[in-house]
Every structure is written in C-alpha cells, then in structure tokens.
C-alpha cells in the first residue's frame, strides 16, 4: 500500500515539482491579490520556491552541494533586504493613502 511513494524524499524531481508548485502559487497570489502586503508575501513565496530548487539541485549533485547552500544563504539575505524596502514603501504609502489595496492606487490614470 502506497509503496510507490517509497524513496520519494530521495528524488530530485519531487523537490523540483514542489518548488514549481510553490512558485506558481506565489505568482497566482501576486497576480490576483489586491493588497500590497499580500502581493509582497506572494513574492516571498516565489523566492522561497527558488531557494528550494537551489537546495534540491545541490543535494542531489554532491559537487554542487556547498555552492547551492551558499547561493541559498545569499538569496535569503537579499530577500530580507527586499522585504525591508518593500515594507518601508508600504508604510509610506499607507500613510498617504490609508489603504493597502494596490488597485486603488490609480490616481495617475485619470
């Protein structure tokens, strides 16, 4: 029963597919949500999907393992920087507009 799942955690494909699913979820959130913070969170999901792919590639080819981890660490740090900037902008715009809904920011399209 369910023995076809044996070794699923030892298979690169499964991790990459998982990464793809997370990436797709993130891009859906980015395209569909109206709230700026929701969109920001969606982007974080996408970046995490990328990291999962990096780590998976590294784990399954020993020569790349340390490289992949290094890259993942760097990506995590740069995502932190990105989030800082994004949230600063969100706070600034909220102070002006009193709404976090992005599609209500349309003052310029008159």
């Amino acid at each position: 029963m369910l023995s076809f799942l044996n070794g699923i955690s030892q298979n690169l494909d499964t991790y990459l597919v998982l990464s793809g699913i997370l990436f797709a979820i993130g891009s859906f959130g980015f395209l569909a949500r109206r709230n700026a913070i929701s969109m920001l969170m969606s982007i974080e999901l996408m970046v995490n999907a990328v990291n999962l792919a990096f780590i998976a590639f590294g784990a399954f080819s020993p020569a790349l393992a340390a490289d992949a981890s290094s890259i993942a660490l760097i990506v995590i740090a740069s995502a932190a920087a990105e989030a800082t900037v994004g949230l600063a902008i969100v706070i600034a715009i909220y102070r002006n507009k009193k709404t976090p809904l992005v599609d209500e920011y349309d003052a310029m399209r008159q």
Binding site: L2, S3, L5, G7, I8, S9, L12, D13, T14, V17, G20, I21, L22, A24, I25, S27, F28, G29, L31, A32, R33, N35, I37, S38, M41, S42, E44, L45, N51, L52, I55, G58, A59, F60, S61, P62, A63, A65, A66, A68, S69, S70, L73, I76, A77, S78, A79, A80, A81, V85, L87, A88, I89, V90, I91, A92, Y94, P100, L101, D103
Partner: protein, 178 residues
Amino acid sequence: MTLPSTIPLLGFGWNDLLFLVFAALMVISGLAVVLQRDILRSGLSMIFCFAALAGLYVLLGTPVVAGAQVLVYIGAISVLVLFAIMLTQTKVAPRALVFQTQALPAGIAAVILALLIGLTVVSTAWPAQAAATAVQAADLATKLFSAYTLPFEIVSVLLLAAVVGGVFLAKRERGEAE
C-alpha cells in the same frame, strides 16, 4: 530499539513520511497565504509555509540553510510583515474585495505554469543524480569565503542600502501628524 526501514502498512520510509508531511504543510499553507480573505491569517500561514520549507531543507541535508531560513524568514521577515499588516490593517479591507478582477485567469495561468514546470522537470534527464547528501558546515564556510566572497560582501552592502533608504522612507518626519 531500531525503527523498521519502511513504515509498516504504508510501505515507505520515515524520511518519505516526513517529506510528505512537510510538502503537504508547505503547499496547504502556501495556498492559504494567497487564498485567505483575512490578511492577518495569510501572514500567519506564511510562517507555517516557511517552517515547512526549513523542514525540507533539513531533510535535504542542509541544516545551516534551514537555520538561516528560520532566523531570517520566520524571525525577521515574517515578523516585519505581520507588523506591517497590523499597522496598515483597516476595517474595510478584509470585507472589501480581496481579489482583483483578473483572479480567475491568473488562477488558470498559475495552474498551467505549475503543470508546465512539472512536465519539464519530469521530462528532463538530470545530469548527475546522486542520493541526497548532507552539506558539511565547514565546506559551506569554505565556499562562502572563497568562491562567494564577492557576493557575500555585496549582500552586506545591499542590506546597508536597504536599511538606510528604508529607515528614511518609513520614519515619520518631525511635526507630521499621524
């Protein structure tokens, strides 16, 4: 006492079980992030998603990255996000439309994207596929400070730049009313 190599009844290994649990948690909480009406709950779901990812990183033998994931994503980014949510939350927002009008096409596009990525991945023969191997912390440190010295240094500049500008943008000017 030693555990059997495969789980009785289910027919797959303990690692596989952990993988399934983490993967399911990740996908479900990921979906929760993008689908939930209440943005506060979205934020909390995001923490679960990040935690599940950290679990997967451990499974893949990279505890260092998993640690960084917990520290940075859960400890810093999620907290910042939650903070921002609290700050900007209005009574109107959750009751108003959560999704843009193009949500349905976006959903279809996302499903197609996932399928495409999945198909591509499955149809690709990987160059060298060994069993998942753990990364030694020492190896990682060596790499980080030899081949990746420059990126490592750039990241610190990046954080500095983000903090300098971010603080300016987020701080309230003197005399400005809230």
